[in-house]
Symmetry: C2
Subunit: 395 residues, 2 copies
């Protein structure tokens, strides 16, 4: 029951039908590979002849390859799979500490990867990113586009980073600069949205089939990415998903990126966990990173465990609010904190439960990210790849 947007609706021409069916066939190859033409025909309502024509087209465009299949009592099928021999996308994740640049193939597999510390000076970071990107593009033929994940407020339509809190960069037109330097189209996204996109396209099958979920990405700050009907929800000016700044209480252990002390981010981000740890451990602790706190907690250190548990509890409070409001099918927790899931998972779930009395009981699945590698990197690749597989936009 979607309302047609007359301003954007594009009329169906004779080739629209082919375009729609092409995407459906391509997605079958993507999700059920290896799969034969006959099997696709059987599962869809397309004739075998039609599937063959479409497959010819996809082969010609270099999107899929044929491999031998085993007979099940008759002529052996020719199995189809995504061509995964050459990289087609460049993914870049600009993190608060380090920046990762990687190439990926159609199936979303990372092929080569390089990283460097992120420089707090805008121009220097731009230079490094461009250098690295150029190197990859020169080395590998066939890279078609670049996906970029940024830790802040991003407007994907204009390609501008509106605000990166950690470095206090504002109105940074990174997409334009990258496009100019590489000659390739660049897609920019907020890190939480990128992580959500990664789960949607490359998560475990049971997650990929969920069409409405929320990604809670805990890093230095706390961001949320909302997936609705299989697409990232951007809201006005791409500013959606800032549940991190939702008011959930008072007297947080630290401040949020904007200085408030009542936001979810101030209660449940890595910074919040660190602040709790420092308070518990006293002066002796010195400079500590979040990764170290997790390591210590996993090693049995009490203060670190307590700091993480408390953080998990507040994650639960916020998640409970989000569930009440959006009733997603799943909530996925992402970021380095996932390593500590065995420690905090139970407490987090308990806290969600406790705060959900008003919401009635609905069994929303709350799960740690299914992507062991950096989900934001997969997301950056997904920014490019998803457009190849996405639904044909008709009405």
């Amino acid at each position: 029951m979607r309302r047609i947007n007359l301003k954007k609706a594009s009329v169906a021409r004779s080739d629209t039908i082919r375009h729609i069916n092409r995407q459906i066939v391509l997605n079958y190859v993507r999700e059920r590979s290896p799969i034969s033409r006959a099997a696709i025909s059987h599962e869809t309502e397309l004739q075998r002849s039609t599937v063959s024509l479409i497959v010819d087209e996809l082969k010609e465009q270099g999107l899929i390859d044929e491999v031998e299949g085993e007979s099940t009592g008759g002529r052996p099928p020719i199995m189809l799979q995504l061509r995964a021999t050459s990289p087609v996308a460049l993914g870049i994740v600009l993190g608060t500490k380090q920046t990762v640049v990687a190439t990926g193939d159609l199936a979303g597999h990372v092929r080569e990867q390089e990283q460097f510390l992120t420089d707090p000076r805008e121009e220097e970071t731009v230079r490094q990113i461009i250098d690295c990107a150029r190197k990859f593009i020169k080395k590998e033929e066939g890279i078609e586009a670049i996906g970029l994940s940024l830790p802040g407020l991003v407007d994907p339509e204009t390609g501008k980073a509106v605000f990166i809190p950690h470095f206090r960069w504002r109105d940074w037109d990174i997409a334009e600069k990258l496009e100019a330097a590489t000659g390739l189209p660049v897609k920019v996204e907020n890190d939480a949205n990128a992580a959500a996109l990664a789960e949607l396209w490359f998560g475990r099958p049971e997650i990929r089939e969920v069409r409405d979920f929320v990604m809670v990405l805990v890093e230095e700050g706390l961001g949320t990415g909302i997936v609705f009907d299989g697409q990232i929800y951007h809201g006005e000016a791409g500013a959606a998903g800032e549940f991190g700044h939702m008011t959930i209480g008072t007297d947080a252990p630290t401040t949020c990126a904007a200085g408030g002390t009542e936001c979810w981010e101030a209660f449940a981000s890595e910074r919040a966990a660190l602040a709790r740890y420092r308070k518990l451990a006293g002066r002796g602790a010195g400079v500590v990173t979040f990764a170290q706190v997790v390591d210590q907690a996993l090693g049995g250190e009490r203060n670190a465990q307590a700091a993480l548990l408390e953080t998990g509890r507040y994650l639960g409070v916020g998640i409970s609010n989000v569930i009440g409001g959006l009733s997603p099918e799943a909530v996925i927790l992402g970021g380095p904190i996932v390593r500590a899931w065995p420690l905090i998972g139970a407490e987090l779930l308990r806290s969600v439960e406790e705060n959900s009395i008003c919401h009635g009981l609905r069994d929303v699945r709350i799960i740690p990210s299914t992507l062991r590698e950096i989900p934001t990197l997969m997301g950056a690749l997904a920014l490019v790849l998803s457009s190849k597989f996405a639904a044909a936009t008709t009405a």
Copy 2:
């Protein structure tokens, strides 16, 4: 960039293309009527010949009518408009106090209306609704379906009312009963979602063009309806939009429907306003309805004004959270409280502003409902009508 849902995706056949274009043409007639074939051809990328064929089909199906047009220097156009001569839908709004039953035409205009007090006994209410619906269906030929708005948790897929707090009805399979009694298909929705649907399809043009907005419906309770990409967001089991039970503080003046005292509903519903008024006015007040409080406030009574202002302030707090999380293009306030907008509007906006420090400044439009008549009634009609105009579901 929508991900294709292979389980639901339906392949494009030769007639799919016609179906898509038919919906586009029909929507042009709906939104720009009266409009000529030539004008539609000009605005879309369809040939005049194609538009003519589609218009013939729509005429035959009784969806549109022709009227004379004025020449602009050439052959005078034949203008097209929705056929609005006969009712096609029955809308039913079950409210906590009264139930409204009405017929509506294709354009969403209410044609005939009848109402009665809602009986707190399930069976009695079902009986009354069925009687009334049958009367309308017998009187008017051509009613095709029934839309029903309910004040509680509804699962539109099964057609069941999961929980109606005010009457404490649970697992009420009203849709099945109505369908059995009338022989017509019945669509059920939560009242806030229905109101949102009404704004989407029948609101002022500037609202209809907004594709992402949130409806905040203040009645005895407080519900929210979320519109994403021109469609109602339901979430898992249709339970989305329960931001009314979002935790926003402590010590609310009353309890929410589930008994909590920290929910938005407990701070900003009609019940909350009444509780504040009673406290301010002391014992002398006696039994007062919310409508009376609004009347008194509009008449200048201080206690009533203070109670409403405080309620407006808390509405602002919750709206601020919703804006932070969803960044909608607009927030629409609905329900009887809209009458008090001149009194509370400024305070509500101020409160949103104050609580949005963390969210950064984005000019989200916050507006009272544009539907003077009962928005939920228009919504109940929209439940039926929207399916006639909605996008062809392809992939």
